[in-house]
Symmetry: C2
Subunit: 271 residues, 2 copies
């Protein structure tokens, strides 16, 4: 039986199940008291027998089943099972598929892996990821001219993960660390300034974040990496550069990568 | 009015809305005939007035509203609006939140941005992304010893995007291109062999994929990059290395990055 702080989840999909995982993570974030979550993922389900066996196991283990099945016959089988039993079941696909069908008269394909077709969009994303790796950390300033964004910031303000996240949304991103001792590449002065994004952070907040990061790595104590005066010098230098380049700035503080990325792409839209 | 091949979507969220976007993409993949999809994303909604205005606009524009609102009062407002009108509305959060509440007795926090807390897990992911960039393309073989996986494969078999995707799931990944003319770093022989993943592909399929990729970049014609004999030589060489190292292999062919990643992480589990 589930107790108050534990939960069993079965994720079922006829594809990978990463969509279901993503929504599940968002929902679980609303239940921080759940300390004991046991998730089992059943991907690439390809027969009714397999599906029914999994649903039966879930029922017996009092698990919540989270589904992104798209095959019509699988969804019917599951719905029939849910009607007959007390299984807790969430279906993330059917309600929206039905709404679209109602609005447009189109029938969903019911085709697993439809999302993972090797389309032009897919290749564009792959290119963007290759691009971000190639032009990470100011490695080759020629990349600035081909980039959608050039992310500027002091060391260790998460420029790399931010670039990779944006790449995953198919933006071409280069980044350049701003280090007082190292002169800027001349190319940065020739780039259209609307591509330049300067990361700004309150030194005390950066310090707290860095300390948390060190702690989470099992490294205690303090270093120049977590020294506020040092961080403030780095930030002042960076702010100077932003002014000089007329770069747009983003106050990152305790925002996550995903939130910073959202903010940056909105800057572009509002221009 | 929507016609058969066009659709308006409003994505609403009190956070970024990337979860809703992810599910929406999965659903839309089931409707390839929809050629004209207009998506508007309303992120960081923070008042009822704003919410009601958006819902009103959606109603007028015959848009489907896709919600990942988590604040209780916002969800009530939206549900009330939907009851009173003919608005097409999908809520990805409430059904699962209610199921969990029913099973555990816990109340969801109703807190926007809960998913974007800077937790140890979050920092672990950031580290993994930094790691993948640092140890991409065989840049520093010392990384092999710290990696969860070392991806091996001929040039341009999408090792980099695959590594980044796995990094996003918090795996530490290094990758090494196998090029007949370039000797292997000696470190690769000292790594536990269960970390080694060799990418295998049928030359004809690789060729087709590469050609599609060139076409999607607007580059036609054929080069050694798309020459089957050349690709076959590269693959034979790679297969030899896999045998020599006793690496696990993955037949990638027309699998997407996400599917290959899923396959690799399952290999680990089944060991």
């Amino acid at each position: 039986m589930n107790n108050k702080h534990s939960l069993k989840l079965f994720i079922i999909s006829d594809s990978i199940g990463d969509t279901a995982q993503k929504v599940t993570n968002a929902v679980l974030a609303q239940f921080p008291e759940l300390t004991n979550i046991e998730t089992q993922r059943f991907a690439f389900i390809d027969s009714k027998e397999e599906l029914i066996k999994i649903l039966g196991d879930a029922l017996q283990e009092h698990a919540i089943v989270v589904s992104t099945l798209v095959k019509d016959s699988f969804n019917e089988t599951a719905q029939e099972f849910v009607r007959r039993t007390s299984l807790s079941y969430v279906d993330f696909m059917t309600p929206m598929m039905e709404l679209i069908q109602g609005k447009t008269g189109l029938t969903p394909k019911g085709e697993a892996r439809a999302q993972h077709k090797l389309t032009p969009d897919y290749f564009e994303k792959i290119e963007a990821i290759d691009f971000a790796v190639k032009y990470d950390d100011g490695q080759d300033p020629k990349g600035f001219f081909k980039a959608d964004y050039i992310i500027l910031g002091p060391s260790r303000t998460s420029k790399t993960p931010l670039s990779m996240y944006l790449a995953n949304k198919s933006y071409k991103v280069a980044n350049l660390p701003l280090i007082p001792e190292i002169p800027l590449p001349k190319e940065i002065f020739d780039v259209p300034k609307e591509k330049l994004i300067g990361l700004v952070a309150t030194p005390e907040i950066i310090q707290r974040t860095r300390q948390k990061r060190l702690n989470s790595l099992g490294l205690g104590g303090s270093t120049s990496y977590t020294d506020v005066t040092h961080i403030k010098e780095e930030m002042d230098y960076a702010q100077n550069i932003y002014n000089q380049l007329d770069a747009k700035t983003v106050q990152i503080d305790d925002m996550s990568i995903e939130e910073i990325a959202e903010f940056i792409t909105r800057l572009q839209i509002n221009r």
